[in-house]
């Protein structure tokens, strides 16, 4: 039994099922991120935890108490909305203490809680202002203050950073992470931004089409994606997907493709599974992250298996800290992440170092991971 249990929860609108048997158990103090594209059901799931949407079947439990049909205010949760949802007619102080007032907390306790929270979030000088007079970052803080002041069991965040500009978003991301480390609260956080998901979470649930595609730690999700959707959704630039032909030769299994000049290229799989052997002679999808394809000097020295391949550069994109170099394998574009001062130029033939330890294979039909 976890702290927050989502047990086979489904959601239907009429005959249309939008969430299919979601099963997630969150431990106390965990930071769970629900990530996925628009319409994947992540916000619906969050609203079901909050009690703003009914649960069609299954159960949601907080601290082992069944929450189905329990009013949002009685679940001891707090929510930060995408638009912050600050009450425009109340001052910042009133906004933060409104929930306490509604729960009948005495005025002295409210004042004290307000003082604590505003100190924690450094918004003491804003308490008398109206939300309309605040900047985006300040509103964000007030919205978090309103959630924090109630000292809830679970915090729910619904895309809280998507209304901020790029720089502020990164700053607030760090703030939220700091806050979580300091307070050790249980958080469920919805976002469509995979970077936010990877940086903030202790665990991620990648969702698509109303299904949880994969549930795991950021590292598991990133290194061992369960299927093509997770592989391409997480990571930027996204994972290179190459069509390769599997060729078994004794114990070794090769992935055959061609380089930009049409010459044959054979990559050896590291520790191939038995399942992969059964794909002998067929074409599969090989996924390699851009950072697993580098210039030989930049290759991961701890990796036991790096393959060197010469190929023609089609485009280089210097991005400051790295240079993204595009080449082709089997006629498909493939992005390599090279050092910033790489000498590779468009049209040149340069060596690429491929870290095969990080390569993952997918069945092109079922899109599931092989092995």
């Amino acid at each position: 039994m976890g702290f927050l249990d989502i047990d086979n929860a489904t959601k239907s609108y009429g005959a249309v099922e939008v969430l299919h048997k979601v099963d997630i158990s969150v431990e106390e103090g965990e930071f769970l991120v629900l990530v996925g594209p628009s319409g994947c059901g992540k916000s619906t799931l969050l609203n079901m935890i909050a009690g703003l949407e009914e649960i069609t079947s299954g159960e949601i439990r907080i601290k082992d108490a069944v929450m189905n049909g329990v009013h949002p205010s009685k679940r001891n949760i707090a929510m930060v909305f995408q638009s912050y949802a600050l009450y425009p007619n109340m001052s910042v102080g009133q906004n933060i203490t409104f929930g306490l007032e509604m729960h009948g907390t005495p005025k002295d306790d409210r004042e004290k809680a307000l003082a604590d929270v505003s100190k924690l979030l450094q918004i003491e000088q804003l308490l008398d202002r109206k939300p309309g007079q605040l900047s985006g970052g300040q509103r964000q803080r007030v919205a978090m203050g309103r959630a924090l002041v109630r000292n809830p069991d679970v915090f729910l965040f619904d895309e809280p950073l998507s209304n901020l500009d790029a720089k502020l978003r990164v700053d607030m991301r760090t703030e939220i992470k700091k806050l979580h480390q300091k307070l050790g609260t249980t958080i469920v956080y919805v976002t469509h931004d995979q970077i936010e998901a990877l940086t903030l979470s202790t665990r991620i649930a990648v969702m698509n089409g109303g299904y949880v595609q994969q549930l795991g730690t950021p590292k598991e999700i990133y290194d061992n994606p369960a299927n093509l959707f997770v592989a391409t959704f997480m990571g930027s630039p996204s994972m290179n997907l190459l069509d390769v032909k599997v060729r078994a030769n004794g114990n070794a299994i090769f992935a055959d493709t061609t380089n930009g000049a049409g010459e044959k290229v054979s990559l050896t799989f590291t520790n191939p599974s038995e399942t992969l052997k059964s794909y002998d002679g067929t074409t599969i999808t090989l996924g390699i992250r851009p950072e697993a394809i580098t210039d030989p000097e930049g290759a991961d020295h701890r990796s036991t298996h790096v393959e060197k391949v010469e190929n023609t550069v089609t485009v280089t994109e210097p991005a400051g800290s790295d240079t993204f170099v595009t080449t082709t394998f089997g006629g498909k574009d493939c992005i390599a992440r090279m050092r910033a001062d790489t000498e590779a130029k468009a049209g040149q033939r340069v060596p690429f170092a491929i870290n095969m330890e990080k390569a993952v294979a997918f069945d092109p039909k079922s899109e599931a991971r092989i092995g």
Binding site: A50, G51, L52, H71, P72, S73, I77, A78, M79, F81, Q82, S83, A85, Y87, P88, N89, F98, G99, M102, H103, R146
Partner: protein, 293 residues
């Protein structure tokens, strides 16, 4: 980029401009004329009007027509002046406006934030009420009022106007609240606020402009209503509009035009006052939601 100045704008010729203002002035005068006639004739003795000087300023100024219209003019069979009927109208319009506005706000709140099955159909039906001609409901309404024991009373008139007003006030508030962020209501729900607390603490404080629009609209319509007043209010309960009609239409004695003019102005004063006090909010409220703030 240099700031655009009027030097570079296309110049309107001096002659054109003068002509423009002249035309505008003419139209303004034309529209002010009835008011002028009413005001001027209400402060002169009857003899000056019957003498043919309707457009000229009074030779002897007098407030007698005003006091007569208010206190002693013959209304129907009694010479009470308009005063008691004025208070009848107040007694009718204040509760009718208040009740229909409050109900409209509640309806708007429920129809946008507590959606239920067939709510749009219900709203459509309420909207339909705005388009039913008054004449159509006269007889059924009279029957209902009779059965309720409210026939011929001010309370009955209040009921009629509330029922008729709800359609419009619901329309106003529903459209206003449709643009009101639902996330605020959800946040308040999580904060533990109940149905009426959300309405009272969150929605209503932000409803100033639309409330003003609704109050002006209802006040003007109800105050100026003649048909319901004439049909459903008997004798002492008649509103100002009916009394004014009785004053002007009386077929006995000399027609005291100066008293009639004074009475007409008295009848129009409250709506005028409401416009002057709340008029600027009226435009602001009508515009609310149409432009992103």
């Amino acid at each position: 980029m240099a700031v655009a100045s009027s030097d570079t704008a296309i110049r309107t010729g001096r002659v054109t401009r003068t002509f423009l203002y002249l035309v505008l002035l003419l139209f303004a005068l034309f529209y002010m004329l009835p008011l002028y006639v009413m005001l001027v004739n209400s402060v002169k003795p009857l003899s000056e009007i019957t003498g043919g000087g309707m457009m000229s300023l009074p030779q002897t100024w007098t407030v007698e027509p005003w006091t007569k219209a208010w206190n002693t003019a013959q209304i129907g069979v009694e010479s009470t002046g308009l005063a008691p009927y004025f208070w009848n109208s107040i007694k009718m319009v204040v509760p009718a406006v208040a009740i229909s506005t409050i109900l409209g706000a509640l309806n708007g709140y429920v129809l946008t934030k507590w959606r239920f099955k067939y709510d749009t159909i219900l709203f459509g039906l309420m909207l339909f009420a705005c388009f039913i001609p008054f004449q159509m409901v006269l007889i059924p309404m009279a029957t209902v009022l009779g059965k309720l024991g409210l026939a011929g009373t001010t309370t009955g008139l209040v009921l009629v106007h509330v029922v008729y007003g709800i359609g419009f006030s619901t329309l106003y508030f529903r459209n206003y609240y449709a643009a009101f962020p639902t996330e605020l209501v959800r946040a308040a729900q999580i904060d533990g606020a109940g149905f009426f607390q959300i309405f009272w603490r969150i929605l209503l404080p932000s409803s100033g402009p639309i409330t003003v629009v609704c109050v002006i609209w209802q006040f003007t319509n109800i105050w100026n209503d003649f048909l319901f007043g004439a049909s459903f209010a008997a004798g002492n309960a008649q509103p100002m509009t009916v009394a004014l009609n009785n004053l002007v239409q009386s077929s006995t004695g000399v027609k005291e035009y100066n008293v009639h003019f004074a009475g007409a102005i008295l009848a129009a004063l409250p709506t005028l006052l409401v416009y002057i006090v709340a008029g600027r909010y009226f435009v602001r409220g009508l515009m609310a939601g149409s432009v992103k703030g």
